[in-house]
Amino acid sequence: MTDNFPEIFDTRGLRFAIDDGFNWIVANYGDLLEQILMPLLKLLGTLEIFLQWLPWYVTVSVVAALTYSAARDLKATASAAVMLLAIGCLGLWNDAMSTIALMLAATVVAVTTGIPLGIFMARSDRLRSMALPLLDIMQTLPIFVYLIPFVMLFGPGKIPAILATVFFAIPPVIRLTDLGIRQVDGEVVEAIVAFGATPRQKLLKVQIPLALPTIMAGINQTTMMALSMVVIASMIGAGGLGYQVLQGIQRLEVSRGLLAGIGIVFLAVIFDRIAQAYGRRAQKHLATGE
């Protein structure tokens, strides 16, 4: 017989305490939280309906125009358009649109909260030393573990899906905003302060513009992580391409899973291209003359 690790104390008590505490939050604040997050749900719903209502050729043209304005490259533009058309041909258009809606909504929330958090982190070493381990935990904790509390709070549906996606996707944009601002040449910052800039002017005129390429890299990573979350989020009711993959697993239909998977890959490639091209353009003036 092998020696098992001795039971030093009974973990059931600890587990019960955590569960009870969480249940108490659900019972007392569940409704309130749901109310607070209603606008988010409305935003997501409207976005999804709008994207599905939009005629496909308009969507394809808009994506092509975005790619071109970012990359200034006909080949990249054409490949983005072809990939989006392929998604339509595979019969995945509506699913792809709801996936894009979820991804965009989650990315917008992650970026609008992540950048200010990153800025605060760059200002305070103490905040940074507390936030870094937290971000490490967020990035390594298995995704499924996030799902449990969110589902308990809101029940299966789009709100827990989008919140879990935001939590999963937000660390890169926080980290890279912090890093980008900390990497800005100290003498440039000193110069603008010496000429009488307020802390706000220092942030808006120097720190953010010079950190922009790094921040854009963070936004890009956040977008990609939000997209990679859609399959798992579909388990709690996010719908879209992820739901097709999930159904493929449940019904053992290789074709359904494979086609939806290819759709996700195409979306990832399109959005990665656009985000990266914008990042490079943000960097252009910093690199001239090199």
Binding site: V188, A191, A194, F195, H285, L286, A287, T288
Partner: protein, 382 residues
């Protein structure tokens, strides 16, 4: 020196870096040195009992090796760094008593700064960089652009105003930094090793340009450098800093020939004296005659008592007569009495003697022998 002449008065300034500043401060006041403070409290003594004043319109050079605290000191003048104790008065007002709003106004209008690695905004053009201070002052953009263009022309960068800083050479980038600092029309110009990152040739060009600009604008310049030649060339007065302590404040000649202690003496030992001694310390006053008075007999008589004499022609042209010229007036070069002696070397190579003038009037002559005697005397003193 009257109170009105003083632009910046630094009074008993101490700066201690580190958490335990109070403990370190009492230790410093009981006479502990930098090493002892570090050992006992873990604090770094940045500046210790700094006391001096800078006059209106002078170029004041603060010199020291790296780690001497000179960059820390210059950052006290616009409060990029706050002192642990002491006071700094600009035009009689203690800048440490300024509130946030007053400090911003002071930084915008009263003082400007040039940085070692330029500190330009890489995402803005040359012109936008130059008007940076004006925009922060809240000046109308069109007026700021007009004033900015004037500064761009002043530093000789016309035609480059729409380039980005990275597209320019180091010397040109520092001109942008200089134009940016001049644009705000602040009285005080802080220059933190402004020319140290430049090539030697560009560096001496920039030094000349700064002297030119200073002759016209008469700013109060605080210049930081670790290069003694640069300090002697630019500075009206020089302060020497070591380990956060002021070792000597004085003119170039004071520092060279009357070093306050052994450290300063070692510091100045290898300097090129010809760049520190002025012509008025070496030349000899000689009789000045009008051309009609300069008969051959008269010249010969005067040459017995003087090393030479000067003949001024009717049209203002000056000629020199020496024993070497066999009593004949010959054409030569003129230099002002307050130029550095080293600047006359090329003239003396071509001429036996050159004419020394004060405000354009001929007063005396300078020969190779006089220069040599002065330098030899100076070298012995140093």
């Amino acid at each position: 020196m009257t109170a009105a002449d003083i632009k910046i008065q630094v009074d008993k300034v101490f700066k201690i870096f580190g958490g335990n500043a109070c403990g370190a401060m009492s230790l410093v006041q009981s006479g502990a040195g930098k090493a002892e403070v570090l050992e006992k409290t873990g604090c770094v003594l940045g500046l210790s009992n700094i006391d001096f004043s800078i006059r209106t319109g002078e170029t004041f050079v603060i010199m020291g090796l790296s780690g001497s605290g000179k960059s820390t000191l210059i950052r006290h003048f616009n409060r990029l760094i706050e002192p642990t104790s002491g006071s700094i008065r600009v035009d009689g007002e203690n800048i440490l008593d300024m509130n946030t709003k007053q400090l911003l106004a002071f930084r915008r209008k009263g003082i400007s700064m040039v940085f070692q690695r330029f500190g330009l905004l890489p995402h803005q053009t040359v012109l936008e960089n130059v008007i940076c201070g004006l925009v922060l002052q809240g000046m109308d953009r069109r007026e700021a652009l007009r004033r900015g263009m004037e500064q761009v022309e002043l530093v000789g960068l016309k035609g480059f105003e729409n380039r980005f800083p990275k597209q320019l050479s180091g010397g040109m980038q520092q001109r942008v930094g200089l134009a940016r600092a001049l644009a705000t029309q602040a009285d005080i110009l802080l220059m933190d090793e402004a020319f140290s990152a430049l090539d030697p040739l560009i560096k001496s060009d920039m030094q000349e340009q700064l002297k030119d600009i200073q002759a016209r604008l008469k700013k109060t310049i605080v210049f930081i450098t670790h290069d003694l030649d640069e300090a002697l060339h630019l500075g009206d007065r020089i302060a020497i800093l070591k380990d956060g302590e002021l070792r000597q404040v004085g003119t170039g000649a004071d520092v060279l020939f009357r070093p306050a202690d052994e450290y300063v003496e070692r510091f100045v030992r290898k300097v090129d004296i010809s760049r520190a001694v002025h012509t008025h310390g070496a030349f000899v006053t000689v009789p000045v005659l009008r051309a009609v008075e300069a008969t051959e007999e008269r010249c010969a008589a005067l040459l017995r008592d003087a090393p030479g004499l000067i003949v001024v022609d009717g049209d203002g042209g000056q000629r020199v007569v020496t024993a070497a010229s066999l009593g004949k007036p010959i054409r030569t070069v003129s230099v002002e009495a307050d130029t550095l002696i080293g600047q006359s070397f090329p003239h003396l190579q071509a001429n036996d003697a050159i004419i020394v003038t004060r405000a354009g009037m001929a007063v005396g002559i300078l020969s190779r022998e006089m220069v040599f005697r002065t330098l030899a005397r100076s070298a012995r003193a140093a």
